[in-house]
Symmetry: C2
Amino acid sequence: MEKIVRQSMLYDFYGELLTEHQKSIYEEVIFNDLSYSEVATINNISRQGVYDMIKRCDKILEDYEAKLKLVDKFLKAKEQIKLIKEAACQLKDMNSDERLNIKIKEIEEYSDSILEEF
Amino acid sequence: MEKIVRQSMLYDFYGELLTEHQKSIYEEVIFNDLSYSEVATINNISRQGVYDMIKRCDKILEDYEAKLKLVDKFLKAKEQIKLIKEAACQLKDMNSDERLNIKIKEIEEYSDSILEEF
């Protein structure tokens, strides 16, 4: 997984456990794609300060994941939901009964709403 | 939700963030169903000490849930999976094509493996 994708996921799960200040700096770098120098200027801290803060936040988030493994579990669940959607899609292709297709569509919608929840 | 069910769920999600000592006392009371007095005797602490420890752990776990809401999200996802399984069950009742039933069974299995994951 690309580093920034992992950082985003860890932040989505555990970001609320960071301080407001850490969250603000982390979001500027990871989500708003600002450079360390830009974030340093905006927050009136050194570039090294921003670098250290991001490194520290990465470690805090990775430590939570090492203990709770919720991102890992979510990714595995997501994989299963993908398989449910694939099976539902194949069912539609194999079948022309409209009554069945309504039920199959329900399964697809429930699957999507699980993914949206997280 | 019954208090002990909620305590179990919160512990399943966030228990690893407690200390080893907290985990041990909490498990004895919540999972092994020992009384405060029994746990006090085993651990050579006062009954009040056990009571305070459980109250403190409950608060720590509830505080994590207040911030991360992962138990809440999981319960909502579980509700959707239940609906997927119900729809799959109805599909089987509505249909006698064995090729379709194989796919429907796959959907049920993927749904179960999501529930087992958490």
